[in-house]
């Protein structure tokens, strides 16, 4: 069929291109901060707080959560066409809009993660806080460590899953319109959170503990990703067509096909490396080689998480119902 259209808008035809790398980065950094928030809570509450003893990640990770989230929010702000109207997000609540849920969720998550960062700051680091009221607040918040960590955990799960729900709510975009996508994004968020925790942790036991968590998360991703494609393939024609870019190496879809190949290669590599790490006998301190391998496998997981966000945001805009 030959189609001539008079009156097309470049934004929507021949396919949608409304969201670019800024939204992908927002989804990635939002997921990363959410995952790190959950891992921070686990670090502080696991084994009655014994795990966090003598561990720098105990205060570095909580600081990184709002910082990473803030950078992510900056990217989504940059994507808005009418930035001065941003306050309207907070003058209304639209229960059917995932973006409205997300904007209110971020408003809760950001201060809670900030308060947890203050609460976990050790005495010898209090001089970092330049204002006296902040120091007093940090000391006072120590008494609320458990509830803050619990809320941080809940908000981490909420934000992690929201990044997927944001995309999955669009009936017009078959690639995104899947209930499996939020689960995939949540698992990926937890995985990259654990990976970053491995990179910033100093002690062996913490690194190995989060390596074990990451193994489970990567296994989860390696199950959910094929299930997602299976679900799309066995659904309607539009859903089936929507995953075509991931399984084609034609010039049109080359980057998507390559991205999927990379994912199917790097996740098993990261998994094997992590399996070897936990089986290996480590001394009191890690050798530079062992440390490099741990950082490499964690870095691979972070790259995988970024690839998932980038490819899904772009490929989803190629898909449509008609």
């Amino acid at each position: 069929m030959e189609i001539t259209v008079t009156g097309v808008n470049a934004l929507t035809s021949p396919h949608l291109h409304i969201w670019d790398w800024r939204v992908s980065l927002y989804l990635f950094l939002g997921g990363l901060s959410a995952g790190l928030a959950v891992m921070t809570t686990i670090l502080h509450l696991r084994q009655g707080g014994k795990l966090v003893k003598d561990e720098a990640a105990g205060y570095v990770a909580p600081i990184l959560v709002p910082v990473i989230l803030g950078i992510g929010m900056l990217f989504i702000f940059l994507d808005l066409e009418r930035k001065l109207n941003v306050f309207w997000f907070y003058l209304t609540f639209q229960p059917l809009s995932p973006m409205s849920w997300g904007s209110w969720g971020l408003l809760v998550f950001f201060p809670v993660s900030g308060l947890l960062a203050l609460a976990t700051l050790p005495d010898n680091m209090l001089h970092w806080l330049l204002l006296e009221p902040l120091k007093q607040l940090a000391v006072r918040m120590r008494g609320y460590l458990f509830p803050l960590a619990a809320v941080n955990f809940a908000m981490g799960i909420f934000i992690g899953i929201y990044t997927g729900v944001l995309l999955s709510s669009f009936v017009a975009r078959p690639l995104w319109n899947s209930a499996v996508l939020p689960v995939l994004f949540l698992t990926s968020a937890m995985s990259v959170g654990a990976a970053l925790m491995i990179m910033i942790a100093r002690t062996n036991k913490v690194k190995l503990f989060f390596t074990k968590i990451d193994i489970w998360m990567i296994c989860g991703e390696m199950v959910i990703l094929p299930l997602f494609f299976y679900g799309q393939y066995t659904s309607s024609g539009a859903h089936r067509d929507s995953i075509l870019p991931f399984f084609s190496l034609s010039s049109e879809y080359f980057s998507y096909g390559c991205s999927m190949l990379v994912l199917f290669i790097i996740f098993p590599i990261a998994l094997v490396l992590k399996m070897l790490e936990i089986k290996e006998e480590h001394g009191h301190t890690l050798t530079p080689m062992a440390l490099a391998k741990m950082n490499l496998s964690a870095g691979i997981v972070l790259v995988g998480g970024l690839i998932i966000r980038l490819t899904f945001v772009y490929a989803g805009q190629l898909s449509k119902l008609s």
Partner: protein, 186 residues
């Protein structure tokens, strides 16, 4: 309360593009952007060719995904007549509505930044006039009226016709109907 709808009688369209021009002129749409479009679809093999002409615009859905996805309440469906409209001062330009619309009916007005779309010429309706595209349609392909009024042009046009809507399976319940086929001779 009226329940506004539009019928596109594809049998009468001659693809003159007068509707596209009238809409741009009436609504001050930026030069390279459009609220309505006309598709010319040619299928078959020469000499057995067939051409379908189809005007497309916002469907003012009864189940509008653009309204559901709007985080600020800028997009809304007016209760009085069911027209999907935009409170421009509330729009943040997040583009969620553009992504949510299965009909690609929305665009970001690049001069003003908000997510623009067809309003059924709401300002003309207030004056008792038809939308500009309907008023200008030389073939009377575009028909507008109140679905609740049995004598309105849309009800008359739909009577006994095989009218369809676009992407019915999406469940959006559009208010723009298409008459494509000639009815069977009696």
């Amino acid at each position: 309360m009226p329940k506004y709808a539009m019928v596109i009688d594809q049998r009468r369209c001659v693809a003159c593009m007068a509707c596209v021009v009238a809409c741009k002129n009436e609504n001050e749409v930026p030069p390279d952007q459009y609220r309505t479009r006309v598709l010319e679809m040619v299928e078959g093999e020469f000499p057995l060719l067939r051409m379908e002409l189809r005007s497309e615009l916002c469907n003012h859905c009864d189940n509008p995904p653009c309204v559901y996805n709007c985080p600020t309440g800028a997009s809304y469906k007016r209760k009085e007549d069911g027209i999907v409209l935009l409170r421009k001062n509330r729009c943040v330009g997040c583009k969620a509505c553009v992504a949510a619309c299965p009909y690609s009916a929305r665009y970001i007005n690049h001069e003003k930044g908000f997510a623009d779309k067809c309003t059924f010429c709401d300002h003309r309706l207030k004056e008792g006039k038809e939308p500009a595209c309907v008023a200008t349609c030389i073939g009377k392909s575009r028909i507008f009226g109140d679905m609740d009024d049995p004598r309105s042009p849309v009800r008359v046009a739909l009577q006994g016709s095989d009218a369809t809507v676009l992407l019915e399976g999406a469940g959006t319940k559009p208010r723009v109907y298409y008459i494509k086929k000639f009815s069977k001779p009696e």
